[in-house]
C-alpha cells in the first residue's frame, strides 16, 4: 500500500469504531471555526447537507454548483427511497443487518468499518429529515410507512411517493438556505470548478469558471470538499442528468488524488428502453416497482415474433406461456434480487432472443397481479406518478399493458479514494457521496445512495474534517494571488484557448455519443480482455479525433454550453480509459463488473477473493502514461465472506 494511502480505520470492535474515532478527533473552538474557510463543490445531497451542517457549526463555507440553483442537483431525481435501520416494522431489522446486506450486496468489496458506520448513522438521517418537514409517506395511525427494496428481506425503505430524492434534497437545500440567510454559507450558482489548487501539498482552493460571464475566478480556503457525484455520463446514454459529469474528480485525480475502483459502475435493470438514435438520456423507473411488479418475457419464440410485429398484445399471452425468469432462477428473492443480478438476467434473456420490442432489447414489468391483489387505489398511491411518467414518455398505459424496461447505466460505485475520515490522498481534500468510492463495493443496493450522501454530509464529514482543521486555525486565509493560483489559472486558460483553436466540424455531442458506444460495447454489462484493450485503443483514437476535429462555437466570455460540454468530454475520455484499465486489471467478476472469463457454469458471476479482495486505487502518472495501481487489502474481520446467493 502506498504511503499516502492509509485507511485510518480505528481498532477495536466493529460497533465501537466510529465512537472511538469521534473521541480521538480534535475539536475546533467556536471562535476558531469563524476563522476557517471551507469550499464545497456540488449541491446534491452530500454537498448541500455538508455545507449546511458546516455552516451551523460556524465555519465559513463557499458552495459551488453548475446549475442556476442548488436544488437542480441530480439527487433530486432519485425516486424510490432511503434506507434506515429503524426496525419500525418489527421485522427483525438492525444496524447489523443493514450493514450485512450492504456488504453482501456490494459483493464483498467495501470496507467493513465504513459500511457499519453508514448503517449506524442511518436512523439519525430519518430523524433529521422528518424534523426538516419532509413529508414521508405515513400510515393511517400517523406513523412512518416503509417498503422493501432489492437485495434485502426486510422493509426498511422510507419514501415520499416516487420523489424521495427530491424531498430529501429540498430538505438539505432548505437547511442550506437557512445558513445562506445566516451568512455562514455563500452560494455560487452557475460556477464550474475547473481545477484544484494545491499549495505545499495541501488543497487550498479552486479555479472556477463563472458560467454566465465566462470569467475564470479564484477561490481560496483551508479545505476543499468534492461532492460532485458520479461519472455515469461517460456512457453518453445514462439515467444521469445531462449536466452530471466527472470533471471535478478528474481534476483531483490529475493533481494526485488516487481514484478507486473506477470499473464498478451500476447498470440499473428498470429503465425505459432506448427508442432511437436521437435520444440523449435514459429514464429510470424506480426499483420500488419491483416490489409489486413481476418481470417476464414469453417462453415461446413465436409469441416474441408476434409481439415485435404488434400482432398480439402482451396481456394476451397466457400465464403458462410466460417466463418469470427472476422468480424461476432466484426463488428466495424473486423480483427483488440486487440490481446487477437483475440486469444480467435481462441481458441473458435478450441475448437468447426473447427481447420483447423491435430492437430486441426489452423485457416486461407487469402489474396485472398487483392490481388484482391490491386494487387500483392502493397501486395508484404507491406508484401513480411513475405510471403517469411512463405513459407520458411511451404513450402506453401500465394499467393496461406491462411496462417495457431494459438495463442502463445509473450509478458509479467507484470514485475518489478516501480514508475513514473521507479525506483523499491529498491533505485537506475530502470527497463525499457518490464522488467517493467507499461504501458500496462492487454494487450498490437500492435506496442506499441517498443514505450515503446524507450520512457523509450531515453526520460524518462535519466531524472528521475538524481533525484536519484543528491544526489549521492559526494559518491565515489562503492568498489567491499565490503563484500556485497563477499557474492553475494559466493552465485552465490554455486548455480553453486550445479548444477554441481547433475549429473543426464535429459537434461535441456527436463525439460524446461515439464514446458512449465504445463504453457500452466494451466496458458495459459484460467485459473481456480483448474488448477492454480495444476500448482503450478506440478511446485514444477518438480523443485524437476530438483534438483535431471538434467544433466549439462562440467565445469564452459568454454563456457557452458547448464550451462546458467540450471541457467535460475531455475528462470523460480520461475516466473511460481509467475504467477500462481497472476492468482489465480486475480479472474476476464482482458486483456490477462482469468478466466473461470469470463465470460459473450457470453463468453467475465468479469472484476471485484470493487475488482480488482489494480496493484498486489508481495514481495518475502524467499525460499518455499508464496509471499506477495501489492496492488496499480488504480484511473481513467481522463477517464471513460467502458467495452471494439469492436462490435459497
Amino acid at each position: 500500500m502506498a504511503e499516502k494511502m492509509i485507511s485510518k480505520i480505528p481498532d477495536g470492535p466493529l460497533a465501537e469504531k466510529w465512537t472511538k474515532r469521534k473521541s480521538e478527533i480534535h475539536l475546533v473552538s467556536p471562535n476558531n471555526k469563524r476563522k476557517l474557510e471551507i469550499i464545497v463543490v456540488g449541491t446534491g445531497l452530500g454537498g448541500a447537507s455538508a455545507a449546511a451542517s458546516l455552516g451551523e457549526l460556524g465555519y465559513n463555507v463557499k458552495i459551488f454548483c453548475i446549475s442556476d440553483t442548488p436544488r437542480r442537483a441530480h439527487s433530486i431525481a432519485a425516486q424510490g427511497g432511503i434506507n434506515a435501520a429503524k426496525n419500525y416494522q418489527n421485522d427483525n431489522d438492525s444496524v447489523y443487518r443493514l450493514f450485512y446486506d450492504t456488504i453482501k450486496g456490494g459483493d464483498y468489496r467495501a470496507r467493513e468499518a465504513n459500511v457499519y458506520r453508514l448503517a449506524e448513522v442511518s436512523a439519525s438521517i430519518i430523524d433529521q429529515c422528518v424534523a426538516q418537514g419532509i413529508p414521508f409517506a405515513r400510515e393511517y395511525g400517523g406513523y412512518l410507512a416503509n417498503r422493501s427494496f432489492g437485495g434485502v428481506q426486510v422493509s426498511r425503505t422510507f419514501y415520499a411517493r416516487g420523489q424521495t430524492g427530491q424531498q430529501l434534497l429540498l430538505g438539505a437545500y432548505a437547511s442550506l438556505n437557512k445558513e445562506i440567510a445566516a451568512g455562514t454559507v455563500t452560494s455560487y450558482p452557475r460556477h464550474e470548478m475547473l481545477d484544484l489548487v494545491i499549495i505545499n501539498g495541501e488543497a487550498k482552493g479552486i479555479i472556477a469558471r463563472n458560467l454566465v460571464t465566462g470569467e475564470l475566478e479564484r477561490f481560496g480556503a483551508h479545505a476543499v470538499v468534492i461532492a460532485t457525484g458520479g461519472y455515469g455520463n461517460t456512457y453518453f446514454l445514462s439515467t444521469n442528468a445531462m449536466n452530471s459529469n466527472g470533471s471535478a474528480a478528474v481534476q483531483c485525480y490529475k493533481k494526485g488524488a488516487f481514484f478507486a475502483n473506477p470499473c464498478f459502475a451500476q447498470i440499473h435493470p428498470t429503465c425505459i428502453p432506448v427508442h432511437g438514435d436521437q435520444q440523449c438520456k435514459l429514464t429510470l423507473m424506480s426499483e420500488s416497482l419491483r416490489n409489486d411488479g413481476r418481470i417476464w418475457v414469453p417462453k415461446k419464440m413465436e409469441d416474441v415474433e408476434k409481439l415485435r410485429k404488434h400482432e398480439i398484445k402482451p396481456s394476451q399471452i397466457a400465464e403458462e406461456d410466460r417466463d418469470y425468469y427472476l422468480e424461476r432462477r432466484y426463488p428466495a428473492f424473486g423480483n427483488l434480487v440486487p440490481r446487477d443480478v437483475a440486469s444480467r438476467a435481462a441481458k441473458e434473456r435478450c441475448d437468447a432472443g426473447f427481447g420483447v420490442n423491435e430492437t430486441g432489447l426489452a423485457v416486461f414489468l407487469d402489474f396485472k397481479d398487483a392490481i388484482k391483489r391490491l386494487g387500483h387505489q392502493k397501486v395508484a398511491e404507491r406508484y401513480g406518478n411513475l405510471f403517469d411518467m411512463y405513459e407520458k414518455i411511451t404513450a402506453s398505459s401500465p394499467w393496461e399493458e406491462p411496462m417495457m424496461i431494459y438495463p442502463a447505466i445509473h450509478y458509479t460505485m467507484g470514485g475518489i479514494w478516501v480514508d475513514y475520515d473521507l479525506q483523499t490522498t491529498i491533505p485537506g481534500l475530502y470527497a463525499i457521496g457518490e464522488a467517493n468510492f467507499s461504501d458500496h463495493g462492487g454494487n450498490r443496493l437500492g435506496a442506499s445512495a441517498l443514505m450515503q450522501g446524507l450520512a457523509d454530509g450531515y453526520f460524518i464529514l462535519p466531524v472528521t474534517i475538524g481533525d484536519y482543521l484543528s491544526h489549521k486555525f492559526a494559518e491565515p486565509k489562503t492568498d489567491i494571488s499565490a503563484p500556485e493560483f497563477d499557474a492553475a489559472e494559466k493552465a485552465v486558460q490554455q486548455r480553453i484557448d486550445s479548444l477554441f483553436a481547433i475549429k473543426g466540424t464535429k459537434t461535441v455531442d456527436s463525439i460524446h455519443k461515439e464514446l458512449g458506444h465504445i463504453m457500452w460495447e466494451y466496458v458495459g454489462m459484460a467485459r473481456n480482455e480483448e474488448g477492454l484493450k480495444t476500448a482503450i485503443a478506440k478511446i485514444e483514437e477518438l480523443q485524437k479525433d476530438f483534438n483535431e476535429n471538434v467544433c466549439v462555437p462562440g467565445s469564452q466570455y459568454e454563456f457557452n454550453q458547448e464550451l462546458e460540454k467540450a471541457l467535460r468530454l475531455q475528462d470523460f475520455f480520461e475516466i473511460g480509459k481509467l475504467m477500462a484499465f481497472d476492468a482489465l486489471n480486475r480479472k474476476e467478476s464482482c458486483g456490477g463488473h462482469f468478466r466473461i472469463e470469470s463465470q460459473t457454469e450457470e453463468g453467475e458471476a465468479k469472484r476471485d477473493d484470493k487475488h482480488f479482495m482489494y480496493v484498486a486505487a489508481w495514481e495518475y502518472k502524467g499525460e499518455g502514461k499508464e496509471p499506477e495501481l495501489h492496492k488496499e487489502p480488504l480484511n473481513y474481520e467481522f463477517i464471513e465472506v460467502k458467495t452471494r446467493n439469492y436462490k435459497d
Binding site: S67, G141, Y143, A241, H275, Q278, S510, E558
Partner: protein
C-alpha cells in the same frame, strides 16, 4: 416530422433580442421537445462551422442556449414558453416531458424564454431565477440544527395531512407559474412552500414568521400581485392547486393580525 421553429435569440442580458426562424426535419414522433432542440443545435453548429454555408448567407447566431438537466421532469431546470404556453401544449408536464407527437407535422412552433421582470434573460432562452432562491432564503425552512432531532416516529402526522403536504412539496421551482401569470406573481411558488410546511406540526412554530418573511421578500423582488386568475394552476407541471394560495393567505393574515 418537420417543423419551422421561431426562436427567441438574445446574446446577453443587455442585448436586444429578436426571433430567428429555422427549419428542421427528420424528427421522430417519440423525440422529446428538448431532444428536438438538441438536433437543431447540432445542425446550427455544423452550419456555423461550414464556410460554404456561411458564404451562402447562413446567419445563425450559433446554437440556442436553453436550461435543462434531468430530462425526467423533476429538476425544474427547463423553462420554455412554447406557442404561448409555459412548457408547451401538453398539460402537467415540464418541457423535457413534452413529446413531438403532440405537434402537427409541418407546424411552426414559437419558442420564447420565461417572460417576467423578476427573471431577467441571461442568454436566448435561459433566464436568471435566483429570485426564487432569495424568497426561500427569507424563510422557506424549518430551523433545525443537524443532530438535534428527536426520533422520527415521535411526531405523528395523519396520513392525509402528509399526503396534502406532499402535494404542495412537489413544486419543482421551474417558474412556470410566474411566467404564465399576467401579473408575474410568484404566489403559487410561495404558497407551495408555506403550505407544505404549515400543514405539518414541525412547521408550526415558525409559521407566522415564515409567511410574513416570504411574502415580503416576494414583493421586494418585483413579483406582481395575485388576482386569482388561476392560470398558474393550469400551467403548473406538477398540478399544484391554488387551494395552497388560500392557505398562504390565511397564514399571512393570521401573522398580520398577531403583529
Amino acid at each position: 416530422m418537420e417543423f419551422n421553429l421561431k426562436i427567441w435569440r438574445q446574446k446577453n442580458a443587455k442585448a436586444k433580442g429578436h426571433f430567428e426562424t429555422y427549419h428542421i426535419s427528420g424528427i421522430e414522433e417519440d423525440a422529446s421537445f428538448l431532444e428536438m432542440l438538441d438536433i437543431l443545435n447540432e445542425q446550427l453548429i455544423r452550419e456555423g462551422s461550414d464556410p460554404v454555408a456561411v458564404d451562402r448567407g447562413c446567419q445563425s447566431s450559433g446554437p440556442v442556449s436553453f436550461d435543462h438537466d434531468c430530462r425526467e421532469g423533476i429538476c425544474g431546470a427547463c423553462s420554455l414558453y412554447i406557442d404561448g404556453r409555459a412548457h408547451g401544449p401538453d398539460d402537467h408536464v415540464t418541457t423535457c416531458q413534452l413529446f413531438m407527437r403532440h405537434f402537427k407535422d409541418g407546424a411552426t412552433i414559437t419558442v420564447e424564454p420565461w417572460r417576467s421582470a423578476a427573471f431577467p434573460v441571461i442568454k436566448d432562452l435561459v433566464v436568471d431565477r435566483r429570485a426564487f432562491d432569495k424568497i426561500l432564503q427569507a424563510g422557506g425552512f424549518i430551523s433545525v440544527r443537524t443532530g438535534s432531532a428527536q426520533d422520527a416516529n415521535n411526531i405523528l402526522i395523519p396520513h392525509d395531512k402528509a399526503e396534502e403536504s406532499m402535494d404542495a412539496a412537489a413544486c419543482v421551482g421551474c417558474g412556470a407559474c410566474v411566467a404564465t401569470c399576467k401579473n408575474g406573481s410568484a404566489m403559487l411558488f410561495v404558497a407551495a412552500r408555506v403550505s407544505s410546511l404549515a400543514l405539518l406540526p414541525q412547521g408550526r412554530p415558525e409559521a407566522k414568521r415564515r409567511a410574513r418573511a416570504m411574502v415580503a421578500k416576494m414583493d421586494e423582488l418585483g413579483f406582481g400581485n395575485c388576482t386569482n386568475t388561476r392560470a398558474c394552476e393550469m400551467e403548473c407541471p406538477k398540478g399544484i392547486s391554488v387551494a395552497h394560495i388560500a392557505r398562504l393567505n390565511r397564514e399571512f393574515l393570521n401573522a398580520k393580525f398577531s403583529e
